[in-house]
Symmetry: C2
Subunit: 326 residues, 2 copies
Amino acid sequence: MIPQTLKPYVIGLDLGGTNSVFGIVDSRGDIKATTAIKTQAYDNVEDYVKASIEALNIIIDQVGGIENIKAMGIGAPNANYYKGTIEFAPNIAWAHSCCVPLAEMFSKELGVPVAITNDANAAALGEMNYGVARGMKNFIMLTLGTGVGSGIVINGQMVYGCDGFAGELGHVIMRRDNGRSCGCGRTGCLEAYCSATGVARTAREFLSTSDMPSLLREYKPEDITSLEVSIAAGKGDELAKKVYDFTGEMLGEACADFAAFASPEAFVFFGGLTKAGDLIMEPIKKSYDEHVMPVFKGKAQFLISGLDGSSAAVLGASAIGWDIQE
Amino acid sequence: MIPQTLKPYVIGLDLGGTNSVFGIVDSRGDIKATTAIKTQAYDNVEDYVKASIEALNIIIDQVGGIENIKAMGIGAPNANYYKGTIEFAPNIAWAHSCCVPLAEMFSKELGVPVAITNDANAAALGEMNYGVARGMKNFIMLTLGTGVGSGIVINGQMVYGCDGFAGELGHVIMRRDNGRSCGCGRTGCLEAYCSATGVARTAREFLSTSDMPSLLREYKPEDITSLEVSIAAGKGDELAKKVYDFTGEMLGEACADFAAFASPEAFVFFGGLTKAGDLIMEPIKKSYDEHVMPVFKGKAQFLISGLDGSSAAVLGASAIGWDIQE
């Protein structure tokens, strides 16, 4: 048997509401083999795990057997790192209840350690292991997608907090008066402004409160998503650019507060919004410089994820495996 | 020689603008011997350290010699933990420049490891070693004094950030529009509202914008400090109580944001304002419950420091000594 420390691969599982994508990954982030199943084609978690193992066994054989696998990491919604469970996941039929012990179930079948955390924490671990945060001990990952997620690394460790749910930076309050309603039931959250849906809301607001000409006026307001805003901005549309300015300004203000907390060496951004490149990154940096406490000025880098979007989630999940302490 | 691990004491130095107080402390937080010198009676740092060592040698002898001392911790303004320096401390004549290598200077004279950090971080380490945060891995210390300081513990470790200056929670922005000016040069900081001076400002504002009767109207506005507010509140003065409600409400909102970051098991409060007891703690807890993200509700304790105010700073400084990794 190969000594534990020499096992060259980890398994990553990106568990989404539709697909469950598995990858076997080496320490440099090369995906050696991959497979997938439909997340909700199974009536219960036992059948889901059984189908997963059947699919996994084929790719495990391709890399020389389970002896070559150090551990498995799972990135999943509503995941509790400490308990190894998924709790009340609204979009996964077999995980509506508390608590599905998914890590233990996989570990029992595979005979390797298994850990689970949410997608944004997985993304942060992915950047730390394979991406732009390699070698960093203190950084904050912000995922700008349907929501705003975050993964925080301090002293080289993920921040899970007392309950496994720390790092909900999409839900710090940015507008204490007349804030937008947020999916979490409160108002004024960062996510309500700086997620993809927040960007679309901002565009609709700007269209209805100004007479500025804009390509976005060709759409019905309810048909505008962050994609239309992105396309319009790419064509030089001034109103669309203002939407990015507004979004970046708020992200910069939020990061200034995060610096007062953790003084990170970098903020790493991931997700659809980052495709706008400088259109979003420049306003973020400008606003940060304007708002951050003087002692922190000029210390943090602002980076875009170094991982390929299509494989980032599996890489992030696999990185949880490297992070397991034995 | 006694093996390193059996050395029973650490030295703590509470380095203030007026006095430098030294204590020799055991692992339970009992102060075995104490001495002090005037911080600014010396023209330069060399003379300051020389005088310190002369004073220290007497109490070191009282505990059986330097063989019994594991390490020394220093709590000081503008301290950089990573570099072991004091940088641009406005209130200490011999530390106006960058950078006074105080840790190294003491270490060279004493022959034991020496570490330095700011007062609020020292306070957090004090609570973790001897106070109400014993055994906690994730908590946030908030010191409510002339300013609002903070010390953050995550995964059982102090958060120093990339530069040694993390944990400036007094300078997160609580009012983004028309915020009060803050000593840091910005506006709307938590400190501008919830420090002792912030509380006095709130009282003056409430007096000038309402006709509510109040014992505080007996003073000239410029003579009102947090002490007068505290005395009035203690006598049941409604306006003074409203000042505490306002202050507690904002602290609760701030803690709700901090929970989204770190999900701590406790918030620990220290400093003059905590002497108001339930008058300040109840509004904090009520506001926190109203504002925190549902997933974190009911998880964090709200505690008042367990350390005696007069010795807390020396105990905190000494705790830095226990924290040194060898």
